[in-house]
Symmetry: C2
Subunit: 460 residues, 2 copies
């Protein structure tokens, strides 16, 4: 096992080549939710497999019912080291609306803002840039003589659409994938200078609702006043979902939601988090969630119900005097604590059905569901990782939460009995899922160094 | 002036050629609301101008700020005849959703259902087929020796998008367009056997609402719970627009709405109108309008507020965990009696503004407005037309209302002081504004004969 200093020096020496590799991966349009990009997802998987094979991993592209997985294994020379499973995802969100990108989303470029360089492209932060920090750390170890832990790499291609194929893949490959600890790089730092290990992840349940009424679109002059309008029906359901205190009105929704443990609540209160600035960065000023909660609670520790898209009737320029035959909306629920995703979705469906007038039919389309996850109180691995990150960044490491879900973490816990340590180098302003997504060069380069330190520390 | 029988015989002899002319016009994709079809609108105008010029009309294509008008004049040989202005529109609604058309919307075809032949194409009924019934009647008179009245033809190209250029055109050409009576062929028969003159037209006000919140689309995990969602804001506005009795909740909305005169109410109650069948034809069963009103009242004599389209956030396949930066909806109001369109729109804007939470901005986009119109109690022209129609169809002619608006009729009244007689041969099941629009061959052929009889009767 090479000395840590030599490994860090190799990472520094490899910077330009590492960036070129990141650019190659970013050029692949691996949008998983849209069937039009299926081949691009396969291309990204093949690229990653070739890359880690060249590092000495025993790797393969593994088909699923959806986009393929990439799995690779490499062993340390010492036999008394831990075995870690590193997870990342090569798929990305759709790039739309395209017209808001300053340059093409799949043609990465280096931009410089306030003296800080960043890579701009869809997936630069979420999750291609992040997952390559780990691969680059592995590279430096391999070039220096060998990795310090037994490592399994697993790259998924359906994280952005709810990981439909993952549970079956885990079940079928339990023995191969089980490790001592899972590492995930899909989260943020506390800020550009302060590392963070994310210990609380909100869950996610996704459901599309289609309301149908008349057998065809109707002329609003001939039928208006007499025919039911599915947009109105859908709007009523959406409007009823929250009460005037911002609480979600679905019966039973808050079952399993607990208040924060006092010590965590205290730590969060002490954090220099400016809710007004957080919202101000995106043109907002007033927290829109539950009355009486802090912004940090709203996004880390409270459940949500949101509409991600709505559509019905005429969408073109000008006007069209039509009563549409159908309207639909895509909903997402962020879940916390012990909320049961299946119960939540069933309660939501009941809530919608109860608001259907005569002549309306409703269809529910499931897009995935996963529970919230909390890392158990500090383990030896967590302490070691905290120290390693503090050494790299020169700052205490925060133990925080995340509003976004990473369903795999729940799957690892449920199906393989593994805990997951989430360490990421993304920043709050990375514009993930939005136009002009970026990843700081500092995140990419110090991220790789961070993983080298964490792996070294875990090996002991 | 040729004998009526000879004119009717000519119309019968011209049937195949008339149908070929209709097909030519239907092939022109004159969708007025979408700028992509601008040239096609010009093409339809030129086609009509050439057609009526060939009949001896002194005709021209007249530019406007939008799509052009076609105006033509022809005089009777006798000098003591009335001067009529006939209005029709050559523009059509968008053909979307295209996938629901059995054949291409702009490639007309003849279909036969239950032994009745019909032309299937966008615009076959609304309004290309209808306006050509009048042109074909003129043709038969011209071929027979001359028209019985002085006739001005005026064809508009923006009826389907609220006639934005029309008021200015009328104002600028008042003297040229003023006649004794206006005739419009854009309405229905009572049923396939019973002619109808439409005496009450609902008005129409169109308004688009755009709600904007954050400066960009947001990740629903990172911001969900804290950031305001414009789809929710818009849905609340839409949901609040009606109370639980189906009445519109905008303050002042019902100002100027009167109950039907008792004799009209009585006539309508006696009509063999089956509300359940009317709704059943389009897959519905329960009238969705104001509690306690008949279906006929709902669609002919009561005002409405409808959403014609709604859009916001992710529209593609699958899911996207986004909080959209904006959401928008297109609204239409059907107006009756003395409702003032400008007051209604201002009250609606106030209603929406009152429901805007912090950080939300609203933009209103106007798409046109016109008041309701009622034909004054029976004139000599009306009596003559009723008798002429009864003679052609062998049935008493109904005096009815129409839920759809024809803004031009209001403009003629307001700007030129002219009354309008609305006689049309469309049927309720013509699917106007919907996929697979059709026009019965009987409507087209007997429609031309009807106009010949009406013109002959008006000349006295």
């Amino acid at each position: 096992m090479p000395a840590l200093d030599a490994v860090l020096a190799k990472i520094d020496a490899n910077r330009d080549a590492a960036l070129a590799r990141l650019f190659e991966l970013l050029r692949i349009k691996s949008v998983s939710t849209d069937p039009a990009f299926k081949d691009e997802c396969g291309k990204a998987a093949a690229w990653l497999c070739a890359e880690i094979t060249s590092l000495g991993f025993e790797a393969s592209v593994r088909p699923t019912a959806g986009h393929p997985m990439v799995v690779g294994h490499i062993k340390a020379k010492r036999r008394d080291v831990p075995h870690v499973l590193f997870y990342g995802h090569y798929d990305v969100q759709p790039a739309d609306p395209l017209e808001l990108w300053q340059t093409s989303p799949f043609e990465p470029r280096i931009d410089e803002v306030d003296g800080r360089k960043r890579v701009v492209a869809r997936g630069s932060s979420d999750d291609k840039g992040q997952l390559l920090t780990f691969v680059e750390a592995c590279r430096a170890f391999v070039e220096g003589g060998g990795v310090p832990c037994d490592i399994t790499l697993m790259f998924e291609g359906e994280e952005e659409c709810g990981s439909p194929s993952l549970p079956a893949f885990l079940a079928a490959n339990k023995d191969e994938l089980k490790a001592d600890l899972c590492l995930v790089c899909d989260t943020n730092m506390w800020d550009a200078k302060t590392p963070m290990i994310t210990a609380m992840l909100r869950g996610l349940a996704l459901e599309e609702v289609v309301i149908r009424a008349a057998s065809r679109d109707l002329h609003s002059g001939l039928f208006g006043g007499a025919a039911v309008n599915p947009i109105r029906v859908l709007s009523k359901i959406i409007a009823d979902l929250h009460d005037d205190k911002g609480r979600i009105a679905i019966p039973g929704f808050y079952e399993g939601v607990s208040e924060l443990p006092p010590e965590i609540a205290e730590q969060w209160r002490a954090l220099p988090f400016d809710g007004a600035k957080f919202l101000g960065n995106v043109g907002l000023s007033a927290p829109a969630g539950e009355a009486g909660r802090s912004v940090l609670e709203m996004i880390w520790a409270r459940p949500t119900c949101d509409v991600n898209g709505v559509t019905g009737g005429y969408q073109g320029a000008g006007s069209k005097t039509v009563l549409p035959a159908q309207a639909s909306a895509k909903f997402s629920f962020r879940l916390v604590g012990q909320q049961n995703p299946e119960k939540i979705l069933e309660a939501f469906r009941e809530f919608a059905r109860a608001r259907l007038p005569a002549d309306c039919k409703v269809e529910f389309i499931r897009h995935g569901a996963s529970p919230a996850l909390q890392l158990p109180s500090s383990s030896e691995a967590l302490s070691r990782a905290r120290r390693a990150l503090a050494a790299e960044w020169g700052q205490e490491c925060i133990i925080g939460g995340s509003g976004g879900s990473i369903p795999i973490v729940g799957d690892f816990k449920r199906d393989l009995g593994m805990d997951t340590m989430m360490i990421g180098f993304a920043l709050e302003d990375d514009r993930i899922h939005s136009p002009n997504e970026k990843y700081e060069l500092a995140s990419f380069q110090k991220g790789a160094r961070s993983w080298a330190r964490v792996l070294d520390a875990l090996a002991g």
